[in-house]
């Protein structure tokens, strides 16, 4: 959970449903008949930015979609269905589906400068904060 302090940037994540459990899609119905799985995430914050790390095993760059609607950031990673020629799946602990999770950004976020990298199935996003502009007001002697 976010620690709420005065002047602290706040990121709210959808409830952690655990990696292998489908997440209820509140706003929109998925058009693909695949389950939505909630990826595990780390969120940490510095003075300059909020850093979000998400485990998205099986996702390549082309299949990753990051959207921002108003202040809601959504990560959507499509996982190609696995097929092994001449083999049959005999045992599985992996729920099949796409990785989907949304985050509410505070209005401190500078959404025009969001950066994202994907490596070894891990997405790293950094959302910079607007730096307060300091203006000096000259005081004229009366």
């Amino acid at each position: 959970m976010s620690t709420k302090k005065k002047g602290t940037y706040e990121v709210q994540a959808t409830p952690a449903a655990g990696e292998e459990h489908p997440v209820a899609q509140a706003q929109a119905e998925p058009t693909r008949s695949r389950a939505a799985l909630s990826p595990r995430c780390d969120i940490h914050e510095t003075n300059e930015a909020v850093h979000l790390t998400a485990d998205l095993p099986g996702v390549v760059e082309e299949d990753l979609e990051i959207t921002l609607e108003k202040s809601v950031l959504t990560i959507r990673g499509r996982v190609a269905e696995r097929r092994v020629e001449g083999f049959q799946r005999v045992y599985s602990e992996l729920a099949e589906g796409d990785w989907v999770r949304s985050f509410q950004l505070s209005n401190e976020a500078d959404t025009s400068r969001i950066q994202a990298t994907l490596k070894n199935g891990v997405l790293r996003l950094s959302v910079p904060k607007h730096q307060p502009t300091v203006r000096k007001i000259a005081v004229r002697a009366g």
């Binding site: 959970m1 976010s2 620690t3 602290t8 990121v11 994540a13 952690a16 990696e19 292998e20 595990r40 995430c41 780390d42 969120i43 940490h44 914050e45 510095t46 003075n47 790390t53 485990d55 998205l56 095993p57 099986g58 996702v59 390549v60 696995r82 092994v84 001449g86 083999f87 049959q88 799946r89 005999v90 045992y91 599985s92 602990e93 992996l94 070894n120 199935g121 891990v122």
Partner: protein, 147 residues
């Protein structure tokens, strides 16, 4: 004689495999990792075919060098370490779900594999292990001689 072919009545080696591997992990690791197979790390999937087995494990955030795959007889062991994103000063953590550190997981395979033929690859955070069935272990057809 009527063969009983109800789905539930057929012996399923994969249920056994799941049970045995969780037992095995408990013995080898002896730590808090000893939980039900569902909570095991990494979660895996096993495919079977004529040439042998194919195992897939979800291991995001590793480097290939951080993962160790070994086979002894019919026991496959996966080991690895995921580096920690160290906490620095001036940082506030809001969420920590990913975890880091060392893992060990072993699997009792349903048959011996050709250890020289075992291949492992790591892509997109998914480990794939090819486990060819040992030739000596493959079922043979026994010719019936006419008297």
């Amino acid at each position: 004689m009527v063969w009983n072919t109800l789905p539930g009545s057929v012996w399923n080696p994969w249920v056994e495999l799941a049970r045995m591997q969780s037992e095995l992990s408990r013995l080898l690791d002896g730590s808090e990792r000893a939980v039900a197979a569902q909570g095991e790390f990494p979660p895996v999937e096993v495919w079977a075919g004529e040439p042998g087995l194919r195992l897939f494990a979800r291991l995001p955030g590793f480097e290939p060098d951080d993962i160790e795959v070994s086979v002894v007889g019919d026991v496959l062991t996966l080991k690895g370490t995921r580096p920690e994103d160290g906490e620095k000063e001036g940082e506030t953590w809001h969420r920590r779900e990913r975890g880091s550190g060392r893992f060990v997981r072993s699997f009792q395979l349903p048959y011996a594999v050709e250890s020289d033929g075992v291949r492992a690859s790591y892509q997109r955070g998914v480990l794939e292990v090819e486990l060819p069935r040992s030739a000596a272990d493959k079922p043979r057809r026994i010719a019936i001689e006419a008297s």
